[in-house]
Amino acid sequence: MKRFVRQGFVSGLALSAALIAGAAWAKDDITIAMQLEPPHLDPTSAAAQAIDSVVYVNIFEGLTRFMGDGSIVPALAESWEISEDGTVYTFKLHEGVTFHDGSAMDAEDVKFSLDRARAEDSANAQKALFAGIDSVDVVDPLTVKVTLTEPNGNFLFNMAWGDAVIVAPESIENIKTTPVGTGPYTLGEWVQGDKIVLNRNPGYWGAEPALAQATFKFISDPTAAFAAMMAEDVDVFTGFPAPENLPQFEADPRFQVLVGSTEGETILSTNNKQPPFDNIKVRQAMAHAIDRQAIIDGAMFGYGTPIGTHFAPHNPAYVDLTGNSAYDPDKAKALLAEAGFPDGFETTLHLPPPSYARRGGEIIAAQLAAVGIKAEITNVEWAQWLETVFKGKNFGLTIVSHTEPMDIGIYARPEYYFQYDNPAFQELMTTLNSTTDPDKRTELMQQAQRIISEDYVNGYLFQLAALSVAKAGVQGLWANAPTAATDLSAISWSE
């Protein structure tokens, strides 16, 4: 009996010692959940945001990078000089940067990456970012000179995109499954359909991040997302899919809720080439038939900022043009009558899976029905949406959030899926791209916002909110989403 007691005492001591030791070590791993799994891990050959959400500034880095507040700061480029006329950028690279395979990152790699992205046969999803590059020249191993055909006020911003990261030439063949970058994390394992594990890169050139390991879990179902977070199976859920559940997390001291801004302009995309949408009066009528606040409250449970044009409200150059399309069903009916549709018309409304589209679509269909427009709802999966709507342009209306930063330029592409063709706007965009003076740029951007707002190209609904749920002890998460990213280096656990 005595022996048992003593044993119990000793093991109790050992246990409490282990507990104390455990408390002294701060937790250095994290599980981050998101809805969509990346199709592969090469940010330079696909538009999928999910790729950037995993690899951007974790595995791959560019010459410049986005910070959580949207500012652009140096990354692999330590500094740069811009020639007098604004056409030559000379980047000075960081010394001692190595790729995950151990090879050195130098000017040759930068030249390779940029030339690969802008090549004729490049699979880059954002080739426009590189369109103005005339040549890329290696000056010495740590200096690279980029010559533009004309000044481009956006060039450093463009180089910060996930599509412009620097890749290792020898890794290209297997980049989709074995990404080799320069970032603070390396790919550990990828269990398809479940998770991706990243490990801290011991050879990282910059400051050592706090987390040794990060696991990205993919949970697409909103109900499962809620359950996983509530059960604390995951530490963070970025892009939480069910806004209706956020008040419960807010009320629970175990969790914190982060509400920020994204670059996602959520719009009722309208096929401008398909009658009757080729008639501006019809588009204007639809704009007045839509009650944005009802959509924000009904579909997003209040999360979202109304917009009146295709521009992010947190951008300093934003103009509030919601007045152009104020909710006024009587005016909508009058405009429809003027356009020759006194009894309305029938059209289709394709809705991709996110709840902003599915729920928003039901609300919009009801609002359009109130002025006589009968929009037949078809729920589609993303693959089907890309095929029929985005590539096939075979649609009347659809709802989608355009999450690329500063993407008003899509209105200058007449072949883009909503098929808006306005030469005056296209000219304005060309002027904007070659303008470097900030004041002049702001003026041009505002002019562009007004043109598309007054042309009622699409129904402008709201700016998507960035909704994240995290355990109370997680700090350093980006509240806003200036680009798709999960900046692991910034994240740590509070003591």
Partner: protein, 271 residues
């Protein structure tokens, strides 16, 4: 009449009645959104509360009954109108190549899990009530073909059929005049059961978004919409859930009761 039959018929007619009434009257417009009035629990103004868009749940359940019944009824109709003649033909030509063809075709359709194939059909040909009807209907065909053939085969051995054959009546004639009326009871009972399965199938398809498309209310979609809100607005899921349970229970009880009531042997034994 048994207690089952009365209870089943009562529940079923309640559902049918509310579906019929919904054509002329619902407390509110089922499609009218009223966002500020969303997520109300049952109260005096909204007897079953309101959903996440502020629509009246009572009105939606009534119109949802209409959707369920229409889809299930038409699907059973397809199954009966194709399955019964096939079964009769197979029985009339027992053992022939026609019998083999029909029955092996049946086996083929039967071998597939019906809901999975229904999902496939609606995914390929597009989501919507019409395709849901066709998909569910196709899987009702072998059910009716088999049951008709089985019952008809035993009838073909009976003396009164022999008499009809001796009298020179054609097989088609005999099937229509003598066989069909004698299998009718069986078909009514099976029809009731298939009807309840049809309601479940419709709810399943619309739960995954392949049934009737919004704004047409459907019980299955109401359940799906309620999924993320169960933790703070459980009535959104409970109400359509109970509607489905009560309807299916009612139809099954009625089917059982009808079988007992219509079965001559049980009737004789009872009297």
């Amino acid at each position: 009449m048994s207690r089952n039959l009365i209870l089943g018929a009562g529940l079923s007619s309640l559902v049918v009645l509310s579906a019929l009434v919904s054509f002329v009257w619902t407390p509110y417009d089922y499609a009218a959104l009223n966002i500020p009035a969303k997520l109300q629990t049952p109260n005096a103004r909204h007897w079953l509360g309101t959903d996440h868009f502020g629509r009246d749940m009572f009105s939606m359940i009534m119109v949802g009954a209409r959707t369920s019944i229409a889809v299930a009824l038409l699907a059973v109709g397809i199954g009966m109108s194709l399955g019964v003649p096939l079964g009769l033909a197979a029985a009339a030509r027992k053992g022939s190549w026609l019998d083999e063809l029909i029955m092996r075709g049946n086996d083929l359709v039967f071998a597939f899990p019906s809901l999975v194939i229904a999902i496939l059909i609606t995914a390929v040909f597009g989501a919507g009530a019409v395709n849901a009807i066709i998909a569910i209907g196709i899987f009702n065909i072998p059910v009716f073909a088999r049951i008709t053939r089985g019952a008809a085969l035993s009838l073909w051995e009976r003396e009164f059929i022999m008499a009809a054959r001796v009298a020179g009546k054609s097989a088609a004639h005999i099937s229509a005049e003598h066989i069909l009326p004698n299998v009718a009871n069986l078909l009514i009972v099976q029809g009731t059961i298939q009807f309840s399965l049809g309601i479940l199938a419709e709810a399943g398809l619309s739960y995954v978004g392949l049934g009737a498309q919004p704004p047409t209310p459907s019980w299955g979609r109401m359940l799906a919409d309620a999924q993320t809100m169960v933790s703070f607005a459980p009535h959104l899921a409970l109400i359509p859930g109970f509607a489905i349970i009560l309807t299916v229970l009612g139809l099954n009880l009625m089917g059982d009761g009808l079988r007992d009531w219509l079965d001559p042997r049980i009737r004789v034994a009872r009297s």
